[in-house]
Symmetry: C2
Subunit: 198 residues, 2 copies
């Protein structure tokens, strides 16, 4: 540590590695701001790497102009999540106001980075039907708005080779669904890893 | 439907069965009221059957006298969760102000109802080390307060043959931990069921 009249220089020594990351990114139809705050905090605490905020038919246009999404105001909610889980890697966030250009033009480029691309949709097969070994790399998970994706949107995800996954008969709030799916994916990845090593 | 000047009698015909229940009960060290509201709603939406609210060393005494826990004031938060998941079975709640009598005198009687009794504890083996076939019946899951159970409490759970399970290196908020563990248990029970039928 150096100290002088005008400045203090701290040297940081990281004694322990950051907690393991589930290698999970989210595509999230923009929810209402109060819900989005909860998801930012919980997604950061669960180690999500990137959050793509996208439009969808059932997203209210006003959600994009929420003050939460201006000037990085959402940053503090991500930091709360990191503090909670003693992590240091801030999830990055990008905003995509047009659904179709995102899916048709941007996603195909991004998808090379993922070993599995999943879209949450009611009544789709549950996650345990997914082969654990397809989840060995990074996973991209798309979660719809309250009320779900409309058929057109699910069709667009299908065209991009996303696999539909469900959470059973219970209709969950978006934040509960995000945490549940992250927990199950993390679990399934560990099962896959266990099988791989065995 | 019968109608008269003074009353209307509605007859309800349930056309569809209620959503499947994960057969999961919770032992929960009483968290602060704002957190408990979140957990009540999310636990109800996930189909938890009973919530035992218990004391623990890191529970503030004032939490037991919170207005939320008087006169069934918590009921509306449970109802929110049921409405969300289109369920009709209200979780029941019981309050146990003394940890040791609950664990030593009440729990042993209750435990016959469960095929597995688990206590969440950092650094314990992850849930995927649990044999899925022990989860075929009802599961009782104990989740500690912020800061976790103290050693004495974990020891008491051990004496009652609870199995310790962890959620990995990340330290999660109590509500995130409850949803994550419920999701993973529900997942693991489905895996077990699948193996059982195969």
């Amino acid at each position: 540590m150096q100290k002088s009249v005008n400045r203090v220089v701290l040297e940081v020594t990281a004694k322990e590695p950051a907690p393991g990351r589930p290698l999970l990114d989210l595509v999230l139809a923009v929810p209402r701001p109060i819900m989005l705050k909860k998801i930012f905090t919980q997604a950061a605490s669960l180690g999500v790497g990137h959050i793509f905020l996208v439009n969808a038919n059932r997203v209210e246009k006003s959600f994009f102009s929420a003050s939460l999404l201006q000037d990085n105001n959402y940053r503090k909610y991500l930091l709360h999540g990191l503090e909670q889980s003693v992590d240091t890697m801030l999830p990055s966030v990008s905003i995509h106001k047009r659904f179709r250009p995102f899916l048709e033009d941007e996603l195909p480029e991004l998808m090379h980075d993922y070993s599995a691309c999943l879209v949450a949709h009611p009544d789709a097969p549950l996650l345990h039907k997914i082969a654990a070994d397809t989840l060995k790399g990074a996973v991209l998970l798309a979660v719809g708005p309250e009320g779900g994706w409309i058929d057109f949107e699910v069709e667009k995800f299908r065209e991009q080779d996303f696999t539909e996954i469900g959470l059973g008969k219970r209709i969950l709030r978006v934040d509960t669904a995000v945490v549940s799916l992250c927990a199950q994916l993390s679990f399934l990845k560990k099962l896959g890893g266990g099988q791989g090593r065995a």
